[in-house]
Every structure is written in structure tokens, then in C-alpha cells.
């Protein structure tokens, strides 16, 4: 699947090259320190076993700065992911979790993104959840699987009584296929739905590599209490591991341009306004 995304792969390689060149010389011995990372082996643009995701790239960057090498514990992102991985001591860090997640200690945010409307280029771009287009269009959203735990767009649609024209796509998808959550974006490509409402990094990456030109529009409003559509994202460590959290915070502060470059290479839609206070 990666060969279909030459531009992304190339950009990512370039950014990694920049990282390597910043070091004075190759270290003759492999670092003895190990940074154990728990990640999904099949979930681009975040991570995969071939290390093609932006979280893979950022993990490498962080490990480099800590003079460590990355070792992965692969685990599909499902209910119980944090419990079964980070909290079970299988790894030191998970590269991307919402900053407000309570199950772990999170670093300062290293990016902020938004849910996006994804439509085919040349079609109507919804301005907000109140756009009349959403009353008649075929709308796709991710559904999580447990009652009362659904994606914020799913809540926003049902709050408006939009039910019969809304199609749910399991965020788990079919794990045999590559990057199963991307099925939601493919459904727009293939005309199965008119608009997908998807989390920014997924929307940005798969829109960029789509064979059918797609367009992204940030959802509005930005927040519809109690549902946010914009999230700060952090790295996460076990609550007790404050030393590593401090180290990661410093790496994030010191390497913002390099991290931003990786995110840009993966077309992650970055929300840069500061209307929502970050932690």
C-alpha cells in the first residue's frame, strides 16, 4: 500500500534525513537505551509494522534525541489498548493519545487537529454541522462500538435528528485490510457517501493519496458542548513515569520544527488557533 503514496514516503524520508544529519557523527555502537513503544501495526497514517506512519517517524526522532533505540510492542488499537499495553508495562510510551486522556500521563501537546468534512472536489463543502447539505447528503461517520461512546460527529448528527441518511463505519473495520479506519475515506472516493466526517490526520493523509481529488473542510462549530471537535494530541507514559514525561516534554519543545515537518509530510491538518487553551 505504501507504494501508492510516493509523495508522502519521500517527504518522510527527507525529514528523517534532516534528523540524521543534525547529529555530529554516527555512534559506533547501537544505543543501549531502549524506548519501548506500543503501536498499532496496521493503522496509517499513525503507525504500521513497516514503520511508515508519522508516529513511527516521530518515535524515531524522539529515540534519537534520547540516544535510544525504538522497540515496538504491536497491538491493535481497540478497547483496552492502553490497559493492555502501557498500563500493563509492555512499553514506555504511546506516541499519540488525546492530551486529556485520563488513563495515562500525557506530555505537552505536539499537535492539534480537528475533525474534517471530506468531500469530492467540486462538490459542496459543508460550512458547519448546520449546513442544509447534511440533511440530504449521504453522510458517513466512524462509530466506535459501545453505546454512549461515539465519535463527536456522530453525536452532533444525532443531536440534529440526522439519522436515516447517516451511515456508520466501524472504526475497527476489517483488520485484514490495510489501515481499516480508512474505509470511511474510501467510501467518499468511491461515491458510496457524499461526505465523510473524519478525524484530521486520517482525513488529511488519505485525501492526499486518493486517486479521486478530495477536499477537506474543518468542521464547525469547533466545539458543541459537551463535544469537542478539536483535540490536542500528546505522547503518553505511565502515570508514575514522570521522569520520562519530563524528557519527552523537553524533546517536544526542542524539536518543534522537525516534528512539524513530519506532520506536514503526512498532510496532518493542523489547527493553529489558540482559542482553546492547551494544557
Amino acid at each position: 500500500m505504501s507504494s501508492a503514496f510516493p509523495s508522502v514516503a519521500a517527504a518522510a524520508v527527507l525529514s528523517m534525513a534532516a534528523v540524521s544529519c543534525a547529529r555530529p557523527a554516527p555512534v559506533p555502537d547501537a544505543p543501549s537505551r531502549v524506548l519501548r513503544v506500543c503501536a498499532d501495526p496496521n493503522n496509517l497514517p499513525f503507525s504500521n509494522r513497516a514503520l511508515e506512519g508519522f508516529e513511527n517517524r516521530i518515535a524515531s526522532l524522539v529515540a534519537d534525541r534520547l540516544d535510544a533505540k525504538v522497540e515496538y510492542e504491536w497491538w491493535a488499537q481497540r478497547r483496552g489498548f492502553v490497559r493492555n499495553t502501557l498500563r500493563a508495562g509492555l512499553c514506555d510510551v504511546v506516541m499519540g493519545l488525546p492530551s486529556r486522556m485520563e488513563m495515562a500521563a500525557t506530555t505537552q501537546p505536539y499537535y492539534r487537529s480537528s475533525y474534517m468534512f471530506v468531500t469530492r472536489r467540486g462538490t459542496h463543502q459543508p460550512a458547519s454541522f448546520d449546513d442544509a447539505f447534511l440533511k440530504t447528503a449521504k453522510v458517513g461517520v466512524h462509530i466506535i462500538g459501545d453505546d454512549f461512546s461515539n465519535s463527536p460527529p456522530a453525536h452532533a448528527l444525532s443531536n440534529r435528528g440526522l439519522i436515516d441518511n447517516v451511515r456508520g463505519y466501524s472504526v475497527y473495520g476489517n483488520y485484514k485490510s490495510p489501515n481499516p479506519p480508512a474505509e470511511l475515506i474510501r467510501a467518499v472516493e468511491q461515491g458510496e457517501i457524499d461526505v465523510a466526517i473524519a478525524w484530521g490526520p486520517l482525513a488529511g493523509y488519505f485525501a492526499q493519496v486518493s486517486k479521486v481529488p478530495l477536499q477537506l473542510t474543518r468542521v464547525m462549530p469547533e466545539r458543541e458542548p459537551p463535544f469537542p471537535f478539536v483535540f490536542d494530541m500528546s505522547m503518553a507514559v505511565a502515570r508514575s513515569n514522570t521522569a520520562l514525561k519530563d524528557e519527552l516534554d523537553k524533546v517536544i519543545t526542542d524539536n518543534k520544527p522537525a516534528i512539524d515537518a513530519i506532520l506536514r509530510a503526512f498532510a496532518v491538518p493542523i489547527v493553529d488557533d489558540r482559542k482553546v487553551a492547551s494544557r
Binding site: I144, D146, G168, S170
Partner: protein, 625 residues
């Protein structure tokens, strides 16, 4: 939810039933199912009925003696052993005979089986099946069978790696594997005879229930309601593993195997293609209704009965309608799956109340009339007594404190929800009783025809919907309700209740500090056995509830105790210890993170459970000296 499954197995060994007949009402459980010869059922044996002051009685139609060939003991799901060597006067001398470590860490919910002089034990993932030779001191391993379920998709089935037991019939042992297969193994040699894929773990489907063999067909259902699967029950040819039929729990009538013979009792279950029409657009395609619970079989009516899990995965307001055929009970013809009737315990479920609990088949004798019924302790907090032939509700009675509903309208059959307790995201709703795991989850009851009582292990749980919690899955941040479980009235989390189905009231109750998550076993010695999550295996008097004996096991108990007669002629009691499952893995973790609002001592109580228990499956076998 949650993953949210289980059903069982059939026995062929009828001799034990005939030889120990206690049945007054002649429902011949083995008829039609047993190949090894006609059952010699006698009526009028002693102690078969439970008398009550109201003049009504209740009887069971089966029970088991020397062997234990299916997880619920018999087709009627009584878990009643006709053995009485161990009884209320000598059970205090019970001592451990031998133990066996399963080498597996997951939650051990299974019932061991005993056929002849062999015991069969199936473990949680990786679903190893052990045959233990009971003629050897200490139960030596005769063979082991490793189905090697896929571990490549690690984490895909995150929540629940349990297995609720195997089934035996005609020289074959049948097990289900977490990754969606059913396998048949030669009981003598452990050689695999066939292995059939029924579910796809990549779609979130798993199998955790115990299969049941009825009339040469192995009945198996799926789990995975949390992942938006579409539920089904399938029947496989016991000899070949070929799929004979599969009945879905949602979708058009042809998929649900609803035809002209379908005659539900209540109006709201009548109509064409309700499995699609009671859902918005195509939501039924991942609507839940998984079949991970128990199956019963009535050979006289020639019907199987089983429940369907809650609907999903949308919030209730996103799936307007009754969401047929979830959270209810089907009666079907075991030969072709043809649906005969359906009743929905929780139409448009609001609380994750899977309808998969055990259906215990007994006969009510009231005012000179006997009526074959199903006694059904339901997750929503009521004990239902249903007519077995029609699905009509004969009585429905709360067995715990309930705030989420006011009862059931006997004209319409519909549960009456309390508007103020309907959960809504972003709104704080307190004191919803029972909580999501229900008044009673999968943990199976037993029934004694001698006492006329149903021994129900269950929960005493309420919950608060407290607000919003940020979460993240598969790369997608979301917000969900923060659900806080807390003890119901009395401050304890679990109870064992002896329920009188005639009087529709408890005869006695035992309070347990933790959820009573094991099954119960009752014997003709009038002893009730059950285990606790803090690792105690207990024997109580079936008539009074008085504790008679207890022993500490290696880990918390969430398994199903059984009784059998060993090759040495002695009666044995066996149970698997091994904490885990939903309470072990999820509830315990969730509880200890939420304190101030959760009631005094709650968080500390669960922490003490975590601190005192370690994982690991151990079979404990007890006998008199």
C-alpha cells in the same frame, strides 16, 4: 456488551439420568437426543418436587448424575446433580482431592466435563483442551489438544478471552476458539476430526460461549457486540463440521430464519422483516444481537431456546425503534433453525443489557395444572416465567433493586422504562439500577427439583452516568459517557439468591462483597456450591442458605462448578479458579480509578481484590475423605 458470549453442549449419556430419576413430571430430556439407548425414565421418584404453601409446585425435567457432558449439566440447564453422597450433614468434611494447573492466565469461566473416566478442561485463549485420566491418582494428562487460535491479530479481541466450556457427544468433544472456529476432537485420542471457521476475528467476531449438541448438530453463536458485529447462531453437523444453518439476529426474515411457523405471542413482535424495519437505514447490518449465552433444549416440544445480546453500536437515540431481534429470546427448531417465537426483554435497549442469560426449563404445577415453562433471570433485574410453547409471560418479578424500569406490561409484554433514568450523553444521570453488567450477567443459575428453588448468582450494581470522558481508539479521539459502577442497596456488590418461582420471591439471600460471577451447582444432597471473586469456594444449605463449608482456591473463581462420580465410585465436586473475564479485567480496572463519587469504601474494596488475587487457572477437585 461487551463483548461482549456463550452456549453449550448436549449429552448423549442418558443412562445417568434414567438411573437417578427424580423427575415427577415427565419431560424426557434425552428423548431424541440420545443415541445410546432410550432413557429409562421413571416417574414418582422421591423428592422430585418443591412444595409451597400456595399449593403450587415446580419440578425439573432432568438433572445429571455420574457424568457431566455439557456445561449446564443438562438440556434443561438445571445444573442439578442427582448425587447425594455429599450432603448437608457431611459437606463440612470436604477436602481437596487433587488440583491441576491449566497453564493459562485468562479468566476461567468454563465448566469441566466428565465422560466415563475422563475429564475434559478447556482453557481461555489459547483454548487448550486437556483430557485428564480420572483412573490415575491426581488426574494425569491423557492428551492435550491445541487449536492454535490466531494470535497475530493481538488486541483485536481485547476484552474477553474467556471460554465457557466444551460439549461432548458420541465420542467427540467440541470446543469453540476465540478466533471464531469450532473444532471436534476424538474423545479417546485427542485427534482433531474437523475444524470449521464460523466467525472472523478481523471483523471483531469472537466465540466464547460453550457449544451445545442437539440432535447431531453443534450449536454455536458469536460474540463481539462491542465491535458492531451482527449476531448469529449456527448449527454444524456434528459428524462433519458442515454448516447446516445459520440464523442471524438482525436483518430480513430470510436471514433470521423467520417463516410461516413464526408465531410470537406479543403484537410488537409480529410483522414482516422487523429485523430491518425496526432500525434506521442499514444500521441492522452491525446491530449486535450476538449469541454468547446459554442454549436450552426441550425434546418434547423439540425447541431450542437462546438469548440475543444488546443492540449496538449506535447510541440509543441514533437507532430509533425496537432494534429487533436484539436483547430477547428465540425459540427455534433445532433441525433447520426455523423460528417459532421470540420475546424481547429489552426493546430498544438503553443499558447494554444483553439478553443472553440461561433459560432454565422447569414445569410449574399450579391449581392442578402443569405447565412447561422457562424460568429466566434477566439482566434487566426481573425473573421471567415464560410459557415454553408460546413465549407468553406468566409472571415477571424484580429480584434486585430496580430504578430504570417500573415493570412489564403484561398486555403488550413491554418493559416500562423510567424516563428520568434514560442515559443521555452529556447529561448526569445518577442511580441507574441495575448497572450495565445487569442484575445478573452470564453467570448461570442452578435449579433443584428437591427444593423447588433456583439458585441465582448475581450482581448488586447500580451506576451513574457522570459526564464526558475523552478516549481514543484506532486513531480517532472521541468522547464517551463516564460510567461509574457502585454497589446497590446494602453496599455489597454480589448476591446469591434462592428464588422460588412459584411464590415469585426469594427464599433466602447471601450477600457477597464482590459480584457473584461464578455459576452455581446444586445437588441431591441439598448442597449449593459457588465460588467468589476473592477465591473462596463455598457450600451452603440449599434450603436455608446457611454456610456449611468453604475452601480457599488459588485465584478468584468465575467458573462453573460441577459434580461427578469418579471411577472409584466417589462423588467429586470440581471447579476452575482463575480470575479474569469482564470483572477481572475491566470492572476492577475501571472501578479503582473513580473514587470520590463512588461510595465509601468502593474503590478500596476493589483495590483489595486486585491486591489479593493473582491470575492463573487451577482446577480444584474436592471429595469426602
Amino acid at each position: 456488551m461487551n463483548a461482549n458470549g456463550l452456549p453449550f453442549r448436549p449429552g448423549t449419556k442418558c443412562w445417568s439420568i434414567g438411573a437417578h430419576t427424580f423427575v415427577v413430571t415427565a419431560l424426557l430430556v434425552c428423548l431424541g437426543a440420545c443415541r445410546s439407548g432410550p432413557p429409562e425414565t421413571r416417574s414418582g421418584a422421591s423428592g422430585a418436587t418443591g412444595s409451597t404453601p400456595t399449593g403450587g409446585t415446580v419440578t425439573a425435567t432432568s438433572g445429571v448424575a455420574n457424568e457431566w457432558t455439557m456445561a449446564p449439566g443438562d438440556y434443561a440447564n438445571t445444573r442439578f446433580s442427582t448425587l447425594s453422597d455429599i450432603n448437608t450433614t457431611n459437606v463440612n468434611q470436604l477436602r481437596e482431592a487433587w488440583t491441576f494447573a491449566t497453564g493459562t492466565l485468562g479468566g476461567h469461566e468454563a465448566a469441566p466435563l466428565v465422560v466415563g473416566s475422563t475429564m475434559f478442561v478447556v482453557t481461555p485463549f489459547p483454548n487448550t483442551l486437556y483430557a485428564l485420566d480420572l483412573t490415575k491418582p491426581g488426574g494425569a494428562i491423557k492428551w492435550r489438544y491445541d487449536p492454535d487460535p490466531q494470535s497475530a491479530a493481538k488486541g483485536v479481541a481485547c476484552c474477553d478471552t474467556v471460554n465457557r466450556g466444551a460439549a461432548y457427544a458420541d465420542g467427540r468433544v467440541f470446543i469453540n476458539t476465540l478466533d471464531g472456529f469450532t473444532a471436534a476432537v476424538d474423545a479417546e485420542t485427542g485427534r482433531q476430526l474437523w475444524k470449521t471457521q464460523l466467525g472472523d476475528i478481523n471483523l471483531g467476531e469472537t466465540i466464547t460461549m460453550a457449544p451445545m449438541v442437539v440432535k447431531g448438530k453443534v450449536l454455536v453463536g458469536n460474540s463481539g457486540g462491542e465491535f458492531g458485529v451482527r449476531g448469529w447462531l449456527a448449527a454444524l453437523d456434528a459428524a462433519t463440521g458442515a454448516i447446516a444453518w445459520r440464523a442471524y439476529s438482525t436483518g430480513p426474515d430470510r436471514d433470521v430464519l423467520i417463516g410461516p411457523n413464526f408465531k410470537p405471542y406479543y403484537e410488537s413482535d409480529k410483522g414482516t422483516d422487523l429485523g430491518t424495519k425496526t432500525w434506521p437505514s442499514e444500521a441492522w447490518k452491525m446491530g449486535g444481537g450476538a449469541v454468547w449465552g446459554w442454549i436450552s433444549y426441550d425434546p418434547q416440544l423439540d425447541l431450542i431456546f437462546y438469548g440475543t445480546s444488546n443492540p449496538g453500536p449506535w447510541n440509543p437515540d441514533q437507532r430509533p425503534g425496537d432494534n429487533k431481534w436484539t436483547a430477547g429470546i428465540f425459540a427455534r427448531d433445532p433441525d433447520d433453525g426455523d423460528a417459532k417465537w421470540f420475546y424481547q426483554f429489552s426493546p430498544h435497549d438503553l443499558y447494554d443489557h444483553d439478553g443472553v442469560n440461561e433459560n432454565v426449563l422447569v414445569t410449574l404445577n399450579v391449581n392442578g395444572q402443569s405447565r412447561p415453562v422457562i424460568v429466566r433471570p434477566e439482566r434487566n433485574g426481573y425473573v421471567y416465567v415464560l410459557d415454553r410453547a408460546t413465549g407468553e409471560i406468566l409472571s415477571v418479578t424484580p429480584f434486585v433493586h430496580i430504578t430504570s424500569s417500573t415493570g412489564v406490561d403484561l398486555q403488550t409484554g413491554r418493559l416500562q422504562y423510567v424516563e428520568a433514568k434514560k442515559p443521555r450523553v452529556g447529561v448526569v444521570v445518577r442511580d441507574i439500577c441495575p448497572a450495565a453488567p445487569g442484575a445478573k450477567d452470564w453467570q448461570p443459575s442452578s435449579f433443584s427439583p428437591r427444593t423447588g428453588l433456583l439458585y441465582m448468582p448475581h450482581n448488586n450494581l447500580c451506576m451513574d452516568f457522570e459526564g464526558m470522558e475523552t478516549s481514543y481508539i484506532a486513531g480517532t479521539p472521541y468522547v464517551g459517557a463516564e460510567v461509574v459502577f457502585k454497589p446497590g442497596p446494602g453496599g455489597h456488590l454480589g448476591e446469591v439468591t434462592a428464588w422460588d418461582p412459584v411464590k415469585a420471591q426469594p427464599a433466602w439471600k447471601i450477600k457477597e462483597p464482590f459480584m457473584a460471577w461464578s455459576g452455581t451447582l446444586v445437588t441431591a444432597g441439598d448442597v449449593v456450591f459457588y465460588g467468589t471473586m476473592d477465591g473462596w469456594f463455598k457450600a451452603v444449605d440449599g434450603r436455608s442458605g446457611k454456610e456449611l463449608w468453604k475452601a480457599k482456591t488459588a485465584s478468584g473463581i468465575i467458573g462453573q462448578p460441577i459434580s461427578y462420580r469418579g471411577p472409584d465410585g466417589k462423588q467429586y465436586i470440581a471447579v476452575l479458579a482463575g480470575i479474569g473475564g469482564w470483572p477481572g479485567a475491566v470492572i476492577v480496572n475501571e472501578l479503582d480509578t473513580r473514587d470520590p463519587t463512588a461510595g465509601a469504601g468502593w474503590g478500596e474494596t476493589m483495590k483489595s481484590l486486585q491486591a489479593s488475587q493473582t491470575k492463573g487457572g487451577v482446577l480444584h477437585v474436592f471429595s469426602l475423605p
